[in-house]
Symmetry: C2
Subunit: 507 residues, 2 copies
Amino acid sequence: MAKKEKTAITPTREEDYPEWYQQIVRAADLAEPSPVRGCMVIKPWGYATWENIREVLDRMFKETGHVNAYFPLLIPLSFLEKEAEHVDGFAKECAVVTHHRLIAGPDGRLIPDGELDEPLVVRPTSETIIGASYAKWVQSYRDLPILINQWANVVRWEMRPRLFLRTTEFLWQEGHTAHETRAEAWDETLQMLEVYKTFAEEYMAIPVITGEKSAGERFPGAVNTFCIEAMMQDRKALQAGTSHFLGQNFAKASKIMYLGRDGKQEHAWTTSWGVSTRLIGGMIMTHGDDNGMIMPPRLAPSHCAILPIIRNEDDRATALEYCNQLKAQLQQQTYHGAPVRVELDDRDINAGEKGWQWVKKGIPVTVEVGPREVSEGSVFVARRDKSRKERFSQTRDQFCGEIAGLLDQIQSDLLTRAREFRERHTRSIEDLADFRSFFTPESAEKPGIHGGFAISAWCGQSECESRINSELGVSIRCIPMDSTDSDAPCVFCGTAGSKPVVFAKAY
Amino acid sequence: MAKKEKTAITPTREEDYPEWYQQIVRAADLAEPSPVRGCMVIKPWGYATWENIREVLDRMFKETGHVNAYFPLLIPLSFLEKEAEHVDGFAKECAVVTHHRLIAGPDGRLIPDGELDEPLVVRPTSETIIGASYAKWVQSYRDLPILINQWANVVRWEMRPRLFLRTTEFLWQEGHTAHETRAEAWDETLQMLEVYKTFAEEYMAIPVITGEKSAGERFPGAVNTFCIEAMMQDRKALQAGTSHFLGQNFAKASKIMYLGRDGKQEHAWTTSWGVSTRLIGGMIMTHGDDNGMIMPPRLAPSHCAILPIIRNEDDRATALEYCNQLKAQLQQQTYHGAPVRVELDDRDINAGEKGWQWVKKGIPVTVEVGPREVSEGSVFVARRDKSRKERFSQTRDQFCGEIAGLLDQIQSDLLTRAREFRERHTRSIEDLADFRSFFTPESAEKPGIHGGFAISAWCGQSECESRINSELGVSIRCIPMDSTDSDAPCVFCGTAGSKPVVFAKAY
């Protein structure tokens, strides 16, 4: 038996995937739990990743005609109550503000005071409060469409928090649009779904399946919910973004009405769509390995770390001068329209420890510079996505000239690897026994490992959906966009003419 | 008597300054009150202004070595209580979360449920929650300094809200740094004050006085509070940003300790500094006129509006083609490193109304294009900061070639005008009777208009400070940075050797 290779993260993915995830978030210095139950502190390396996500998405939203605005954090309870399904969906997880000041209590400790006439809910999502503004702004069809996005924090009380994936407070964007016609709102819903897919694949290097949610998985109050679904390395699905066609439900709840071209009062058609800091969790679980995070270059806070190797104090000045020149030369290079982001890590700590820190953080490229490199005018390059055995030497000029290409190569290799992983663990299954065994753990030692994504025909009945969910913990992730009625019988009840849909265990 | 010129904003600044302010916020489409008392909706034009502010400041913070991170919105009450002055300062204005879900009450309406063991406060500021993280992160002097900034929303319950100036929820940035030595923390405090001054003057075109707050006006828990103070057009002062030297107060409260170079445990030295969406209120009150907002070009959401004047349907296609070419040509121009931001307003509405909308929004330059301009290859240009009588004609090429220079000219003219205004209304006053009359309204018809900023000697005693405050509503805005002990007697009590400080009525 081969000796187990030492890894920077313990346990490994195979040993204990959920614990591996917690350890990687910590080791990569992305975030940590906060003293407030369910909330997280997003540390600088994690937040810089979010800033990059935000910058790209913001540009994509603006290119598709949207503008940003900002609406209140606090929502009157009565607003939430306006849409019945909506309030049912969120009532169990709302942080409620009931008082507006603190006074000293009998024992001198502070207690809440100044009770509000109407409690306020910390927004779990903003359809109702934004709807109140749109109702004022929209009078005529000339005021439509309204195409607004908001970058904000939201709070959904979380009993089983996991950093990035499920936290009481999280950061997100929420687009809210209002349209004159059903067709326009429908097109908007699907357009934003495509924006999310493009972003996931081209920037996060995460292949996704786009599709529609089943009725049971819809956003509370939506007519149709569309999503992008990705496969993590434990073969479970992560819903990475949603785009909702809200029909006239919220327009009716909020009274968003316009005078139509025909002189009649009509309710507007609305959409909403969002992605959150959960995406960072998805990047970790798609690309991370047993040595830590692997950042896709297009979103990495930094692209390249330069690590001077100083064995001898006499070499220090020469090595640092060389490294500074290298840094400047790299920063003159452009990667997708912006300068390459470079760190020169000249901290006076153990070189091995220093190198591992960057590995764990997942910086795409590290460059070691020792006396040999200085004398040769070379660099010793490691790609984070390759084994350390594949490190290579290159002249400094060649490395700098090719850095953008190297980053692009890493970006595309990550996507390919993730796509191949997903394909390897996706199966068309027609038989219920096969379906059950696909979702049964392979062995008692690896309770988390099961088949992956099953593409199976489903009759469209919620009975079949909920039965398989309670039996196997498997849900319908989506009805893929290209899915059409087929001749296949439902894998559960045998009803003919069922649609192939994606089944998986999910986050 | 000359006929009163018609203005777009009613009332004018002179007629009723506070009401003029409300009207301009509405007319410029910057923000509006929300259904939640004290909160505002920041509309796209206002939010785009905030985005520009954020982008510039963020770059300045990063250039001075700071990184961004994100800390929880909700703060346990016990954290707030750790610093006695701090909690006293904020207790009266805290939104308190006491429950984490809603259930149907006896009458079917929802009521709060799931009472929390410990109430949570929606952050009014984050010293205490960030301090809890720093206490974990800092072990040794090697972990210092920590130089972090956060962009966030905060809530301070506001009884007398005014859009942008004073709202229950507002957006801001808060820098929080921890240092090994007193000197470093002190330097950081003053460095960030300088960053704010540079930003105010070079970007917002608002001249500011930097100085220290008197003890009574300090941030609760700070050792020293420094500020930038600006004069508005009603001659009142606006505190536009603050930088606090916190000494070891918060480090002691949060137990931020490090092992020093001498092997002893020490408390860190901390600072905090912030500016908020209030800055937009400051820009309105510094630059706005009786026709609306005037945006300083470096922060304007858009620099130039192109307004096609179509008198005759036959001209439409030619005019729009010309305008589209003009737009493309302008967008190829660079203003401070980014493309010139251009709007082509081809909405089919009344041309006069359309033009006034842009005037009210304060776009720096508007260009009218009618049949004459199309045939001549020219444009008809209006500067927002000049009278309509000064509009001029220019060839299209010349206009495009000079747009960056024109914007720079507007930017610097706005600053000059604001500086001259402030100087005109600032007076050194040695005599108490003069001081009183300086702060007494000039006439009953204009109750808001008084002298402006008085530079007068003050003995440093809080008695003199609070007496003049209750008598005249005048406060010490700051002890200017360049102020030194003088021979002058205190204007109130006559104590010799007092310091000249800035007195004003304030927002």
